[in-house]
Protein backbone atom coordinates (compact mmCIF):
# COMPACT_ATOMS: atom_id res chain seq x y z
CA UNK A 1 0.00 0.00 0.00
CA UNK A 2 2.69 2.44 1.05
CA UNK A 3 4.82 1.43 -1.89
CA UNK A 4 1.96 2.03 -4.24
CA UNK A 5 1.37 5.50 -2.85
CA UNK A 6 5.07 6.26 -3.10
CA UNK A 7 5.20 5.01 -6.64
CA UNK A 8 2.28 7.14 -7.60
CA UNK A 9 3.88 10.08 -5.87
CA UNK A 10 6.96 9.57 -7.96
CA UNK A 11 4.99 9.38 -11.18
CA UNK A 12 3.04 12.50 -10.19
CA UNK A 13 6.25 14.22 -9.36
CA UNK A 14 7.48 17.48 -10.62
CA UNK A 15 7.66 18.28 -14.30
CA UNK A 16 9.74 21.38 -13.91
CA UNK A 17 11.97 22.44 -11.08
CA UNK A 18 10.56 24.40 -8.20
CA UNK A 19 12.75 27.09 -6.70
CA UNK A 20 11.88 25.64 -3.32
CA UNK A 21 13.54 22.33 -4.03
CA UNK A 22 16.88 22.03 -2.26
CA UNK A 23 19.39 19.26 -1.95
CA UNK A 24 18.23 18.41 1.52
CA UNK A 25 14.86 16.67 1.53
CA UNK A 26 13.80 18.05 4.91
CA UNK A 27 14.77 21.56 3.96
CA UNK A 28 12.71 21.33 0.79
CA UNK A 29 9.71 20.04 2.66
CA UNK A 30 10.02 22.77 5.27
CA UNK A 31 10.35 25.46 2.62
CA UNK A 32 7.33 24.20 0.71
CA UNK A 33 5.16 23.96 3.78
CA UNK A 34 6.23 27.43 4.80
CA UNK A 35 5.40 28.68 1.31
CA UNK A 36 1.89 27.21 1.37
CA UNK A 37 1.18 28.37 4.92
CA UNK A 38 2.57 31.83 4.30
CA UNK A 39 0.41 32.20 1.23
CA UNK A 40 -2.61 30.91 3.05
CA UNK A 41 -2.30 33.21 6.03
CA UNK A 42 -1.15 36.41 4.35
CA UNK A 43 -2.82 36.73 0.96
CA UNK A 44 -6.37 36.14 2.27
CA UNK A 45 -5.82 38.92 4.81
CA UNK A 46 -4.86 41.27 2.01
CA UNK A 47 -7.92 40.14 0.09
CA UNK A 48 -10.10 40.67 3.14
CA UNK A 49 -8.73 44.13 3.70
CA UNK A 50 -9.36 44.92 0.06
CA UNK A 51 -12.91 43.67 0.40
CA UNK A 52 -13.45 45.94 3.39
CA UNK A 53 -12.09 48.96 1.61
CA UNK A 54 -13.60 48.39 -1.83
CA UNK A 55 -16.98 47.61 -0.37
CA UNK A 56 -16.79 50.73 1.76
CA UNK A 57 -15.85 52.97 -1.13
CA UNK A 58 -18.56 51.52 -3.34
CA UNK A 59 -21.03 52.25 -0.58
CA UNK A 60 -19.73 55.80 -0.22
CA UNK A 61 -18.00 54.99 3.06
CA UNK A 62 -14.40 54.88 4.22
CA UNK A 63 -14.11 51.45 5.71
CA UNK A 64 -11.63 50.61 8.47
CA UNK A 65 -9.42 53.56 9.36
CA UNK A 66 -8.37 53.32 12.97
CA UNK A 67 -6.76 49.88 13.24
CA UNK A 68 -3.25 50.30 11.88
CA UNK A 69 -2.31 52.64 9.04
CA UNK A 70 -5.47 53.18 6.94
CA UNK A 71 -7.10 50.36 8.84
CA UNK A 72 -4.82 47.83 7.20
CA UNK A 73 -4.56 45.77 10.38
CA UNK A 74 -8.31 45.36 10.74
CA UNK A 75 -8.23 41.66 9.94
CA UNK A 76 -5.20 41.17 12.17
CA UNK A 77 -7.17 42.74 15.01
CA UNK A 78 -10.04 40.41 14.18
CA UNK A 79 -7.70 37.46 14.36
CA UNK A 80 -6.22 38.53 17.70
CA UNK A 81 -9.69 38.96 19.07
CA UNK A 82 -10.92 35.58 17.87
CA UNK A 83 -8.04 33.90 19.68
CA UNK A 84 -9.28 35.35 22.95
CA UNK A 85 -12.94 34.52 22.58
CA UNK A 86 -14.61 31.92 24.69
CA UNK A 87 -15.01 28.59 22.94
CA UNK A 88 -18.62 27.57 23.26
CA UNK A 89 -19.70 24.06 22.38
CA UNK A 90 -23.46 23.55 22.55
CA UNK A 91 -24.51 20.90 25.02
CA UNK A 92 -26.43 18.93 22.41
CA UNK A 93 -23.65 19.14 19.85
CA UNK A 94 -21.63 16.18 18.65
CA UNK A 95 -18.44 17.47 20.26
CA UNK A 96 -15.78 15.79 18.18
CA UNK A 97 -17.42 16.41 14.84
CA UNK A 98 -18.20 19.95 15.89
CA UNK A 99 -14.57 20.56 16.76
CA UNK A 100 -13.16 18.84 13.68
CA UNK A 101 -15.39 20.55 11.13
CA UNK A 102 -13.51 23.86 10.81
CA UNK A 103 -10.25 21.96 10.35
CA UNK A 104 -11.74 19.76 7.67
CA UNK A 105 -12.91 22.87 5.87
CA UNK A 106 -9.62 24.72 6.34
CA UNK A 107 -6.94 22.17 5.52
CA UNK A 108 -7.94 21.55 1.85
CA UNK A 109 -7.55 25.28 1.27
CA UNK A 110 -3.97 25.08 2.53
CA UNK A 111 -3.25 22.01 0.43
CA UNK A 112 -4.35 23.63 -2.82
CA UNK A 113 -1.75 26.33 -2.35
CA UNK A 114 0.87 23.61 -2.82
CA UNK A 115 0.19 23.33 -6.54
CA UNK A 116 -0.66 26.89 -7.46
CA UNK A 117 2.17 28.45 -9.46
CA UNK A 118 2.73 32.09 -8.59
CA UNK A 119 5.68 32.74 -10.86
CA UNK A 120 8.49 31.06 -12.73
CA UNK A 121 9.59 28.34 -10.33
CA UNK A 122 7.61 29.85 -7.48
CA UNK A 123 5.44 26.92 -6.52
CA UNK A 124 5.78 24.06 -4.12
CA UNK A 125 4.91 21.23 -6.46
CA UNK A 126 4.22 20.85 -10.12
CA UNK A 127 2.03 17.76 -10.15
CA UNK A 128 1.25 16.15 -13.44
CA UNK A 129 -2.35 15.98 -12.23
CA UNK A 130 -2.27 19.45 -10.68
CA UNK A 131 -5.66 20.58 -11.93
CA UNK A 132 -7.27 17.31 -10.94
CA UNK A 133 -5.67 17.55 -7.52
CA UNK A 134 -6.87 21.11 -6.97
CA UNK A 135 -10.45 20.37 -7.96
CA UNK A 136 -10.56 17.13 -5.99
CA UNK A 137 -9.16 18.72 -2.84
CA UNK A 138 -11.37 21.79 -3.06
CA UNK A 139 -14.50 19.67 -2.91
CA UNK A 140 -13.42 18.21 0.42
CA UNK A 141 -14.19 21.44 2.24
CA UNK A 142 -17.90 20.88 1.67
CA UNK A 143 -17.50 17.92 3.97
CA UNK A 144 -16.35 20.23 6.74
CA UNK A 145 -19.32 22.48 6.16
CA UNK A 146 -21.76 19.57 6.27
CA UNK A 147 -20.08 18.29 9.44
CA UNK A 148 -20.37 21.68 11.06
CA UNK A 149 -23.99 22.06 10.08
CA UNK A 150 -24.93 18.64 11.35
CA UNK A 151 -22.91 18.63 14.55
CA UNK A 152 -24.13 22.01 15.81
CA UNK A 153 -27.50 20.50 16.69
CA UNK A 154 -29.15 23.69 15.56
CA UNK A 155 -31.86 23.81 12.96
CA UNK A 156 -30.41 26.86 11.26
CA UNK A 157 -27.01 25.22 11.09
CA UNK A 158 -28.49 22.06 9.67
CA UNK A 159 -30.48 23.82 6.97
CA UNK A 160 -27.50 26.00 6.19
CA UNK A 161 -25.23 23.00 5.93
CA UNK A 162 -27.62 21.16 3.65
CA UNK A 163 -28.06 24.21 1.49
CA UNK A 164 -24.32 24.53 1.25
CA UNK A 165 -24.03 20.88 0.32
CA UNK A 166 -26.66 21.17 -2.38
CA UNK A 167 -25.14 24.34 -3.72
CA UNK A 168 -21.59 23.03 -3.80
CA UNK A 169 -22.58 19.82 -5.53
CA UNK A 170 -24.66 21.72 -8.08
CA UNK A 171 -21.88 24.13 -8.92
CA UNK A 172 -19.03 21.66 -8.75
CA UNK A 173 -20.26 20.23 -12.03
CA UNK A 174 -20.06 23.34 -14.24
CA UNK A 175 -16.81 24.27 -12.48
CA UNK A 176 -15.18 20.98 -13.33
CA UNK A 177 -16.58 20.92 -16.85
CA UNK A 178 -15.17 24.37 -17.49
CA UNK A 179 -11.80 23.34 -16.08
CA UNK A 180 -11.75 20.16 -18.15
CA UNK A 181 -12.28 22.22 -21.26
CA UNK A 182 -9.13 24.15 -20.46
CA UNK A 183 -7.27 20.90 -19.88
CA UNK A 184 -8.45 19.64 -23.26
CA UNK A 185 -7.20 22.74 -24.97
CA UNK A 186 -3.91 22.76 -23.10
CA UNK A 187 -3.46 18.99 -23.41
CA UNK A 188 -2.15 18.80 -19.88
CA UNK A 189 -3.45 18.74 -16.32
CA UNK A 190 -0.34 20.32 -14.86
CA UNK A 191 -1.03 23.89 -13.81
CA UNK A 192 2.42 25.02 -14.85
CA UNK A 193 1.86 23.22 -18.12
CA UNK A 194 -1.38 25.09 -18.67
CA UNK A 195 0.40 28.41 -18.18
CA UNK A 196 3.04 27.29 -20.62
CA UNK A 197 0.39 26.18 -23.11
CA UNK A 198 -1.20 29.61 -22.95
CA UNK A 199 2.07 31.30 -23.80
CA UNK A 200 2.42 29.19 -26.93
CA UNK A 201 -1.21 29.16 -28.00
CA UNK A 202 -1.74 31.03 -31.26
CA UNK A 203 -5.06 31.98 -32.74
CA UNK A 204 -5.63 29.42 -35.51
CA UNK A 205 -4.21 30.54 -38.81
CA UNK A 206 -2.53 33.64 -37.37
CA UNK A 207 0.57 34.57 -35.45
CA UNK A 208 -1.21 36.17 -32.50
CA UNK A 209 -0.61 34.75 -29.04
CA UNK A 210 -3.68 34.83 -26.81
CA UNK A 211 -4.65 33.50 -23.41
CA UNK A 212 -7.34 30.89 -23.00
CA UNK A 213 -9.80 33.49 -21.84
CA UNK A 214 -10.32 34.56 -25.46
CA UNK A 215 -11.27 31.28 -27.06
CA UNK A 216 -13.06 30.21 -23.89
CA UNK A 217 -14.82 33.32 -22.74
CA UNK A 218 -17.94 31.27 -22.02
CA UNK A 219 -15.93 28.80 -20.00
CA UNK A 220 -14.38 31.64 -18.05
CA UNK A 221 -17.79 33.07 -17.23
CA UNK A 222 -19.07 29.68 -16.14
CA UNK A 223 -16.00 29.10 -14.01
CA UNK A 224 -16.29 32.52 -12.40
CA UNK A 225 -19.96 32.16 -11.51
CA UNK A 226 -19.47 28.62 -10.28
CA UNK A 227 -16.48 29.70 -8.20
CA UNK A 228 -18.52 32.43 -6.53
CA UNK A 229 -21.23 29.90 -5.76
CA UNK A 230 -18.68 27.39 -4.49
CA UNK A 231 -17.44 29.99 -2.03
CA UNK A 232 -20.96 30.99 -0.96
CA UNK A 233 -20.05 34.55 -1.80
CA UNK A 234 -22.89 37.00 -2.22
CA UNK A 235 -25.01 36.99 -4.37
CA UNK A 236 -24.81 33.21 -3.92
CA UNK A 237 -24.73 33.22 -0.11
CA UNK A 238 -27.89 31.22 0.48
CA UNK A 239 -26.16 28.83 2.94
CA UNK A 240 -25.46 31.71 5.32
CA UNK A 241 -28.39 33.90 4.40
CA UNK A 242 -28.69 35.89 7.59
CA UNK A 243 -32.27 36.98 7.04
CA UNK A 244 -33.35 33.35 6.85
CA UNK A 245 -30.77 31.23 8.63
CA UNK A 246 -29.00 33.39 11.22
CA UNK A 247 -25.52 32.43 9.99
CA UNK A 248 -26.15 29.04 8.38
CA UNK A 249 -23.70 26.32 9.29
CA UNK A 250 -21.56 28.82 11.26
CA UNK A 251 -24.38 29.84 13.62
CA UNK A 252 -23.04 28.03 16.66
CA UNK A 253 -19.35 28.61 16.03
CA UNK A 254 -17.42 31.05 18.18
CA UNK A 255 -13.90 32.27 18.52
CA UNK A 256 -11.06 30.55 16.75
CA UNK A 257 -13.25 27.92 15.10
CA UNK A 258 -15.37 30.58 13.53
CA UNK A 259 -12.21 32.36 12.44
CA UNK A 260 -11.12 29.17 10.70
CA UNK A 261 -14.34 29.07 8.71
CA UNK A 262 -13.89 32.72 7.88
CA UNK A 263 -10.33 32.15 6.78
CA UNK A 264 -11.55 29.29 4.62
CA UNK A 265 -13.90 31.64 2.86
CA UNK A 266 -11.25 34.30 2.24
CA UNK A 267 -8.66 31.68 1.36
CA UNK A 268 -11.18 30.17 -1.06
CA UNK A 269 -11.53 33.52 -2.76
CA UNK A 270 -7.79 33.61 -3.31
CA UNK A 271 -7.62 29.99 -4.45
CA UNK A 272 -10.40 30.34 -6.98
CA UNK A 273 -8.95 33.59 -8.28
CA UNK A 274 -5.54 31.96 -8.56
CA UNK A 275 -7.02 29.02 -10.47
CA UNK A 276 -8.75 31.41 -12.83
CA UNK A 277 -5.51 33.30 -13.35
CA UNK A 278 -3.68 30.09 -14.12
CA UNK A 279 -6.38 28.53 -16.29
CA UNK A 280 -7.56 31.51 -18.27
CA UNK A 281 -5.45 34.60 -17.68
CA UNK A 282 -1.99 33.42 -18.61
CA UNK A 283 -0.50 32.94 -15.14
CA UNK A 284 2.43 35.24 -14.66
CA UNK A 285 2.48 36.63 -18.18
CA UNK A 286 2.04 40.36 -18.21
CA UNK A 287 0.39 40.48 -21.64
CA UNK A 288 -0.08 37.77 -24.24
CA UNK A 289 3.18 37.30 -26.12
CA UNK A 290 5.22 39.60 -23.91
CA UNK A 291 8.11 37.82 -22.23
CA UNK A 292 9.10 38.72 -18.69
CA UNK A 293 12.37 40.61 -18.24
CA UNK A 294 15.34 38.30 -17.87
CA UNK A 295 13.54 35.13 -18.86
CA UNK A 296 15.12 32.95 -21.52
CA UNK A 297 12.88 29.91 -21.40
CA UNK A 298 10.04 28.98 -23.69
CA UNK A 299 7.69 31.90 -24.28
CA UNK A 300 9.65 34.04 -21.88
CA UNK A 301 8.15 32.22 -18.91
CA UNK A 302 10.95 30.14 -17.44
CA UNK A 303 14.60 30.23 -16.42
CA UNK A 304 14.25 33.73 -15.07
CA UNK A 305 16.61 35.79 -13.02
CA UNK A 306 15.49 37.12 -9.68
CA UNK A 307 13.98 40.20 -11.32
CA UNK A 308 11.83 38.16 -13.66
CA UNK A 309 10.78 35.89 -10.81
CA UNK A 310 9.73 38.80 -8.64
CA UNK A 311 7.91 40.41 -11.53
CA UNK A 312 6.13 37.14 -12.26
CA UNK A 313 4.96 36.75 -8.67
CA UNK A 314 3.83 40.37 -8.60
CA UNK A 315 1.87 39.96 -11.81
CA UNK A 316 0.13 36.82 -10.57
CA UNK A 317 -0.78 38.40 -7.25
CA UNK A 318 -2.00 41.50 -9.06
CA UNK A 319 -4.26 39.43 -11.28
CA UNK A 320 -5.56 37.52 -8.27
CA UNK A 321 -6.40 40.77 -6.50
CA UNK A 322 -8.11 42.09 -9.60
CA UNK A 323 -10.35 39.04 -9.65
CA UNK A 324 -11.03 39.40 -5.93
CA UNK A 325 -11.98 42.98 -6.67
CA UNK A 326 -14.51 41.80 -9.26
CA UNK A 327 -15.96 39.38 -6.73
CA UNK A 328 -16.39 42.16 -4.21
CA UNK A 329 -17.85 44.34 -6.91
CA UNK A 330 -20.49 41.73 -7.69
CA UNK A 331 -21.17 41.33 -4.00
CA UNK A 332 -21.88 45.00 -3.61
CA UNK A 333 -23.97 45.28 -6.76
CA UNK A 334 -26.30 42.31 -6.58
CA UNK A 335 -28.90 41.08 -4.14
CA UNK A 336 -29.02 37.47 -3.05
CA UNK A 337 -30.64 34.87 -5.29
CA UNK A 338 -33.45 32.66 -4.10
CA UNK A 339 -32.62 29.03 -3.42
CA UNK A 340 -34.67 27.70 -6.36
CA UNK A 341 -33.23 30.32 -8.69
CA UNK A 342 -29.79 29.18 -7.67
CA UNK A 343 -30.43 25.53 -8.43
CA UNK A 344 -32.24 26.37 -11.64
CA UNK A 345 -29.32 28.43 -12.82
CA UNK A 346 -26.86 25.63 -12.10
CA UNK A 347 -28.69 22.73 -13.66
CA UNK A 348 -30.61 24.39 -16.50
CA UNK A 349 -28.17 27.06 -17.62
CA UNK A 350 -24.63 26.43 -16.52
CA UNK A 351 -24.31 22.65 -16.89
CA UNK A 352 -25.65 22.46 -20.48
CA UNK A 353 -23.62 25.51 -21.40
CA UNK A 354 -20.48 23.98 -19.96
CA UNK A 355 -21.10 20.71 -21.83
CA UNK A 356 -21.63 22.62 -25.05
CA UNK A 357 -18.46 24.56 -24.43
CA UNK A 358 -16.57 21.33 -23.89
CA UNK A 359 -17.93 19.82 -27.08
CA UNK A 360 -17.13 22.86 -29.18
CA UNK A 361 -13.61 23.20 -27.85
CA UNK A 362 -12.93 19.49 -28.32
CA UNK A 363 -14.11 19.57 -31.91
CA UNK A 364 -12.15 22.71 -32.58
CA UNK A 365 -9.05 21.17 -31.07
CA UNK A 366 -9.30 18.22 -33.44
CA UNK A 367 -10.12 20.30 -36.50
CA UNK A 368 -7.39 22.93 -36.14
Amino acid sequence: MTDLVLEQAVTFAAQSASLLTFDSFLLSVAAKIAFALGLFFVVPLVGGYMEHKVMARMQHRRGPVEAGPFGSLQLVADGIKFIQKEDIIPRAADKWVFAAAPGVALVPGMLIFLVIPLGPGVFALDLELGLFYALAISSISVLGILMGGWASANKFSLIGGLRAGGQLIAYELPLILAAITVAVQAQTLSLVGIVEAQSTFMLPGTDINVWFVFPQIIGFGIFFIAAMAELSRPPFDMPIADSELVFGYMTEYTGIKFAMFLLTEYGGMIIMSALMVVLYLGGWQLLPGVPLPGCDGAGGLFDCGWLGTLAGVGITLGKIMALVFVMVWLRVAYPRLREDQLQRMAWIVLVPLALLNLAVVTVAKVVF
Partner: protein, 187 residues
Protein backbone atom coordinates in the same frame (compact mmCIF):
# COMPACT_ATOMS: atom_id res chain seq x y z
CA UNK B 1 -10.45 31.11 26.53
CA UNK B 2 -9.32 28.91 29.38
CA UNK B 3 -6.03 30.22 30.64
CA UNK B 4 -6.53 33.80 29.65
CA UNK B 5 -9.03 34.63 32.33
CA UNK B 6 -6.95 33.16 35.11
CA UNK B 7 -3.46 34.42 34.37
CA UNK B 8 -2.35 37.99 34.14
CA UNK B 9 -0.57 38.25 30.81
CA UNK B 10 2.79 40.02 30.49
CA UNK B 11 2.43 43.65 29.53
CA UNK B 12 3.39 43.56 25.81
CA UNK B 13 1.15 40.57 25.14
CA UNK B 14 -1.64 42.19 27.06
CA UNK B 15 -1.25 45.34 25.02
CA UNK B 16 -1.51 43.47 21.74
CA UNK B 17 -4.44 41.39 22.91
CA UNK B 18 -6.28 44.44 24.20
CA UNK B 19 -5.55 46.20 20.95
CA UNK B 20 -7.09 43.31 19.05
CA UNK B 21 -10.24 43.38 21.13
CA UNK B 22 -10.38 47.13 20.92
CA UNK B 23 -10.48 47.29 17.16
CA UNK B 24 -12.53 44.23 16.48
CA UNK B 25 -15.92 44.79 18.02
CA UNK B 26 -18.30 42.68 16.04
CA UNK B 27 -21.49 44.29 16.95
CA UNK B 28 -24.96 42.98 17.50
CA UNK B 29 -27.72 45.55 17.52
CA UNK B 30 -30.65 44.76 19.75
CA UNK B 31 -32.93 47.38 18.24
CA UNK B 32 -36.05 47.94 20.27
CA UNK B 33 -37.29 51.42 19.44
CA UNK B 34 -36.37 54.71 17.83
CA UNK B 35 -32.79 54.50 19.11
CA UNK B 36 -32.26 51.58 16.75
CA UNK B 37 -32.75 53.97 13.86
CA UNK B 38 -29.95 56.14 15.19
CA UNK B 39 -27.80 53.06 15.54
CA UNK B 40 -28.47 52.23 11.91
CA UNK B 41 -27.62 55.81 11.02
CA UNK B 42 -24.29 55.35 12.78
CA UNK B 43 -23.53 52.40 10.50
CA UNK B 44 -24.35 54.23 7.29
CA UNK B 45 -21.87 55.97 5.07
CA UNK B 46 -22.07 59.33 6.80
CA UNK B 47 -20.93 58.05 10.18
CA UNK B 48 -19.61 54.61 9.27
CA UNK B 49 -18.51 53.04 12.52
CA UNK B 50 -16.60 50.35 10.66
CA UNK B 51 -13.86 52.97 10.70
CA UNK B 52 -13.42 52.16 14.39
CA UNK B 53 -13.51 48.43 13.83
CA UNK B 54 -17.13 48.10 14.91
CA UNK B 55 -18.25 45.60 12.36
CA UNK B 56 -21.97 44.99 11.99
CA UNK B 57 -21.40 41.61 10.35
CA UNK B 58 -22.14 39.59 13.45
CA UNK B 59 -24.98 37.52 12.12
CA UNK B 60 -25.77 35.89 15.41
CA UNK B 61 -24.84 36.35 19.05
CA UNK B 62 -22.18 33.64 18.87
CA UNK B 63 -19.96 35.81 16.71
CA UNK B 64 -20.68 39.09 18.48
CA UNK B 65 -18.43 40.94 20.92
CA UNK B 66 -20.54 43.99 21.48
CA UNK B 67 -24.22 44.14 22.25
CA UNK B 68 -25.87 47.48 21.70
CA UNK B 69 -29.23 47.61 23.42
CA UNK B 70 -30.98 50.49 21.75
CA UNK B 71 -34.49 51.28 22.77
CA UNK B 72 -37.20 50.60 25.27
CA UNK B 73 -36.73 47.28 26.96
CA UNK B 74 -40.05 45.88 28.07
CA UNK B 75 -40.40 43.21 30.72
CA UNK B 76 -41.69 40.90 28.03
CA UNK B 77 -38.54 41.39 25.97
CA UNK B 78 -36.10 41.30 28.88
CA UNK B 79 -35.68 37.51 28.92
CA UNK B 80 -34.71 37.58 25.26
CA UNK B 81 -32.04 40.18 25.85
CA UNK B 82 -30.76 38.23 28.81
CA UNK B 83 -30.65 35.06 26.78
CA UNK B 84 -28.99 36.71 23.84
CA UNK B 85 -26.36 38.15 26.13
CA UNK B 86 -25.72 34.74 27.62
CA UNK B 87 -25.30 33.27 24.15
CA UNK B 88 -22.47 35.67 23.41
CA UNK B 89 -18.97 34.35 24.11
CA UNK B 90 -16.73 36.11 26.63
CA UNK B 91 -15.19 38.70 26.54
CA UNK B 92 -18.37 40.55 25.67
CA UNK B 93 -19.31 44.18 26.00
CA UNK B 94 -22.60 45.98 26.27
CA UNK B 95 -23.51 49.52 25.35
CA UNK B 96 -26.76 50.86 26.68
CA UNK B 97 -27.93 53.30 24.04
CA UNK B 98 -30.51 55.93 24.91
CA UNK B 99 -32.51 56.92 27.94
CA UNK B 100 -34.91 53.96 27.80
CA UNK B 101 -32.11 51.45 27.87
CA UNK B 102 -30.27 53.44 30.52
CA UNK B 103 -33.04 53.54 33.09
CA UNK B 104 -36.43 53.45 31.48
CA UNK B 105 -36.36 57.08 30.38
CA UNK B 106 -39.82 58.44 29.63
CA UNK B 107 -41.32 55.15 30.76
CA UNK B 108 -39.88 55.49 34.24
CA UNK B 109 -43.24 54.75 35.83
CA UNK B 110 -44.64 52.35 33.25
CA UNK B 111 -45.94 49.02 34.44
CA UNK B 112 -44.41 47.13 31.54
CA UNK B 113 -41.00 48.64 30.97
CA UNK B 114 -37.77 47.36 32.49
CA UNK B 115 -36.10 50.29 34.18
CA UNK B 116 -32.79 49.99 32.50
CA UNK B 117 -31.05 47.15 30.76
CA UNK B 118 -28.42 47.06 33.49
CA UNK B 119 -30.93 45.39 35.75
CA UNK B 120 -30.55 42.19 33.78
CA UNK B 121 -27.10 42.38 32.18
CA UNK B 122 -23.92 44.27 33.08
CA UNK B 123 -23.43 47.40 31.00
CA UNK B 124 -20.07 48.89 30.06
CA UNK B 125 -20.99 52.24 28.58
CA UNK B 126 -24.12 54.33 28.93
CA UNK B 127 -24.87 56.69 26.07
CA UNK B 128 -27.31 59.43 27.08
CA UNK B 129 -29.83 60.93 24.69
CA UNK B 130 -33.39 60.45 23.59
CA UNK B 131 -32.46 59.27 21.08
CA UNK B 132 -28.73 59.99 21.10
CA UNK B 133 -27.09 61.26 17.96
CA UNK B 134 -25.12 58.75 15.89
CA UNK B 135 -22.02 60.66 16.93
CA UNK B 136 -22.97 60.07 20.54
CA UNK B 137 -22.83 56.35 19.82
CA UNK B 138 -19.43 56.83 18.23
CA UNK B 139 -18.34 58.68 21.36
CA UNK B 140 -19.63 55.83 23.47
CA UNK B 141 -17.76 53.35 21.31
CA UNK B 142 -14.56 55.34 21.67
CA UNK B 143 -15.10 55.41 25.42
CA UNK B 144 -15.54 51.64 25.36
CA UNK B 145 -12.38 51.23 23.30
CA UNK B 146 -10.50 53.33 25.84
CA UNK B 147 -11.73 51.05 28.53
CA UNK B 148 -10.80 47.91 26.61
CA UNK B 149 -7.28 49.17 25.92
CA UNK B 150 -6.68 49.70 29.61
CA UNK B 151 -8.39 46.68 31.05
CA UNK B 152 -7.12 43.39 32.35
CA UNK B 153 -9.08 40.43 31.10
CA UNK B 154 -8.44 38.54 34.29
CA UNK B 155 -9.89 41.27 36.47
CA UNK B 156 -12.78 41.66 34.12
CA UNK B 157 -13.78 38.03 34.29
CA UNK B 158 -13.21 37.97 38.05
CA UNK B 159 -15.39 41.00 38.55
CA UNK B 160 -18.15 39.69 36.34
CA UNK B 161 -21.39 39.97 38.17
CA UNK B 162 -23.05 36.60 38.01
CA UNK B 163 -26.39 37.32 39.59
CA UNK B 164 -28.78 39.81 38.09
CA UNK B 165 -29.64 42.89 40.07
CA UNK B 166 -32.76 42.23 42.02
CA UNK B 167 -35.62 44.63 41.72
CA UNK B 168 -37.14 45.76 44.95
CA UNK B 169 -36.61 43.73 48.08
CA UNK B 170 -37.34 40.13 47.26
CA UNK B 171 -37.74 38.31 44.01
CA UNK B 172 -35.16 38.47 41.25
CA UNK B 173 -36.40 39.43 37.84
CA UNK B 174 -38.36 36.56 36.33
CA UNK B 175 -36.02 35.18 33.73
CA UNK B 176 -36.29 31.50 34.45
CA UNK B 177 -38.59 30.99 31.50
CA UNK B 178 -35.90 32.27 29.18
CA UNK B 179 -33.59 29.32 29.30
CA UNK B 180 -36.29 26.83 28.36
CA UNK B 181 -35.62 27.44 24.69
CA UNK B 182 -38.67 28.53 22.76
CA UNK B 183 -36.86 28.93 19.46
CA UNK B 184 -33.49 28.52 17.88
CA UNK B 185 -30.89 26.02 18.85
CA UNK B 186 -29.97 24.76 22.26
CA UNK B 187 -27.79 26.93 24.39
Amino acid sequence: MGLMDQVELPQPVKYVFNWGRKYSLWCFNFGLACCAIEFIAASTSRHDFIRHGVIPFAHGPRQADLLVVSGTLTDKMAPSVKRLYEEMPEPKYVISFGSCANCGGPYWDSYSVTKGVDQIIPVDVYVPGCPPRPEALLDGIIALQDRIQGESLKDRIAGRRLDPITLGADAPLAIEGATGGASGGPT
